[in-house]
Symmetry: C2
Subunit: 286 residues, 2 copies
C-alpha cells in the first residue's frame, strides 16, 4: 500500500510535476490529482503520466487527498490555502514549495482547520525551464529541501513530509522560518538583485553612442545569466522577503563600499587581501 | 616566406603561448623565442612545441625579433618595454595583451625608439587555467581582439598586428584607449568586483552560528565562480584601471540603490519593470 493514497499537486509545473514523478517512481503514491488554471498544461500532464487526472477547481481537486503540495508563485500560496481549507479531508497535510517562508507560514498556519496540518517547505532545486514538460523525476536527487516547522507544526505531519522529500532523493534540513528567509536572501535573492542591477547599469551606461553590452564576452554572460529569470516571480519574491532582502542588500552594499574605498585609495595590500579572502571563501564551496 | 621571421613572446603562458601556437599553425612565423622568468615553464614550452628556444633575459631575447608580444601582468608591461627598448631591431613592432590600456599605452609610446613601433592590444579570451600547459591554438578563434591605436600609432604596424590577430581567428575591433578601459571596466572588471564583494558579504554574514555559504546551491556557485580568479591579477587591474572602475562601481551602486528603494517601498510595478528591462537587455546578448 502506498504511503499516500491521493496526492494533490496545485501548480503542475517543473516543481510540482517533478515531485509527482519522483514519488510515483518510488511507488509512494496511489493517485495523483493535478490542479491548475491552464487546462492545456494539465492535459499534457496526464499524457506525460505526471498526473492521473486533473481539476481546474482547487476546492474540488483537493477532496479526499492525504497530501496537498502547493507549487504556485509565492504570493498565491496563502490565498490558495484559504480557499481549499474548508474542503480538506480530516488528517490532510498541506505543504508548499515557496522560496519565501516567514510570511507564507505565518499566514497559512491559522487558516488550517483543526485536524489538518501545514508544513512549510522549500526544495532548493530548479532549472531554467518551466511547465509540466520540464518536470523530471530526478530534479530533487542530491539536493537540499528545507522544511520550516514552527512550535505549531504537528510532528507526525513533519515526519511524513520529510519522508517524501527523502524519497525524492533530497537531504532534508530543518530551519526556522526567520533563518530560512535570511539564508535564501543571501544565497539566492541577493545574487538575483545584483545580477539584475548589474545588467541595468551596464546596459544603461551612455557615455558612448552605442550599447557597450555588445562587447560582453563569455564571463559577463555567465555571470549575468540569472538576470534572464522571470521578472514576475522575482517581483513577488522581492516583495515577500523584503525585510531579509533589504538587510542582505545593505550588507552587500557595505562590502562593495569597502572595496570601492580600497580601489579609490589605491590600497594594494588591502585589495589583494580582499580578493584573496573572497577567493578562499568561494573555493571552499566547490 | 613567413610574415614574421622572428616572434618573441614575453610571458609564455595561456595568452602568449596560445598566440604562438595559432600563428605557427598558420605558417605565419619563422622562429618563436620565449622569454620569461620561470625556466621550467619555458623548457616545457620548448617540449610542447610552443616556442623554439627561450631566454631568461628579455634584452637578449628580443634581439632580431620583428614582432614582440608582451603577455605579462598589466603592471609589468611598461617596465618591460623600458628595459627592452634599447635592444629592439629597427622596424620592430611591440604589442601587448594587457586588459587595461590607457595607462599602459601612455607609458609605453614615449619609450619606443625611433623606427620601432608600439600597438596596444587586448585579446578578449581566456580560460580559468594558466601557464604554457594551458595554451592551445584555438583560444582566439571567434573571439574579439581590441586594438587601441592612438594618433601616434604607425598605420603599417597597426595593419600587421591586426593581421596576426585575424590569422589567430579573432575579429579585430579598433577602439580608443579611453573607451576600451570603460568598456572593460563595465563588462569584466566591475563584475569581478561585484562577485568578490558578494562572496565576502555572504561569507561574512554572522547573524547565525554558522557560515551560510554552506547552503549555497548551483546558482550561487555559478554566479560567483569569477570570485575564484587570481587575487594578484585583479589587484593589479583594479589599481591600473582605477578611474574607469570607480566610475562603473558608482554607476552600479546607483542602480542597486534604485532597486533597493523599489524593494523598500514595495513598488510592485517598478520592480517588475526593473527586472523585465534587465531580462530584455540580458536576453539580447545571448
Amino acid at each position: 500500500m502506498p504511503l499516500i493514497n491521493r496526492l494533490a499537486i496545485i501548480g503542475v509545473g517543473l516543481i510540482g510535476g517533478s515531485l509527482a514523478l519522483a514519488l510515483r517512481r518510488q511507488g509512494m503514491v496511489g493517485e495523483v490529482v493535478g490542479i491548475g488554471r491552464g487546462e492545456a498544461n494539465l492535459r499534457r500532464g496526464v499524457e506525460l503520466g505526471v498526473i492521473d487526472r486533473y481539476s481546474l477547481d482547487p476546492c474540488e481537486g483537493v477532496r479526499g487527498a492525504d497530501l496537498i503540495f502547493i507549487a504556485t508563485p509565492v504570493c498565491t500560496i496563502a490565498g490558495i490555502i484559504a480557499r481549499i481549507a474548508p474542503f480538506l479531508s480530516p488528517g490532510a497535510i498541506v505543504t508548499d514549495g515557496g522560496s519565501v517562508k516567514e510570511e507564507i507560514v505565518a499566514a497559512s498556519e491559522p487558516l488550517m482547520p483543526s485536524g489538518t496540518f501545514f508544513v512549510g517547505g522549500h526544495p532548493i532545486a530548479g532549472t531554467e525551464h518551466s511547465g509540466v514538460e520540464a518536470a523530471f523525476a530526478d530534479l530533487y536527487e542530491n539536493r537540499r529541501c528545507i522544511l520550516t516547522p514552527t512550535p505549531q507544526t504537528d510532528p507526525t505531519a513533519l515526519a511524513l513530509v520529510s519522508r517524501i522529500w527523502e524519497a525524492a532523493g533530497s537531504q532534508v534540513v530543518l530551519m526556522d522560518v526567520h533563518k530560512h528567509d535570511r539564508v535564501l536572501a543571501a544565497i539566492s535573492h541577493l545574487p538575483h538583485m545584483v545580477a539584475y542591477s548589474l545588467v541595468n547599469a551596464v546596459g544603461g551606461y551612455d557615455r558612448f553612442d552605442e550599447s557597450i553590452l555588445r562587447y560582453s564576452a563569455g564571463g559577463f554572460r555567465d555571470f549575468t545569466r540569472i538576470a534572464s529569470s522571470d521578472p514576475v516571480m522575482w517581483r513577488d519574491i522581492a516583495l515577500m522577503n523584503r525585510e531579509a532582502l533589504l538587510e542582505m542588500m545593505d550588507f552587500f552594499a557595505d562590502s562593495l563600499s569597502h572595496l570601492r574605498r580600497l580601489v579609490a585609495a589605491g590600497e594594494s595590500d588591502g585589495l589583494e587581501r580582499f580578493f584573496a579572502d573572497s577567493k578562499e571563501l568561494r573555493d571552499g564551496i566547490d
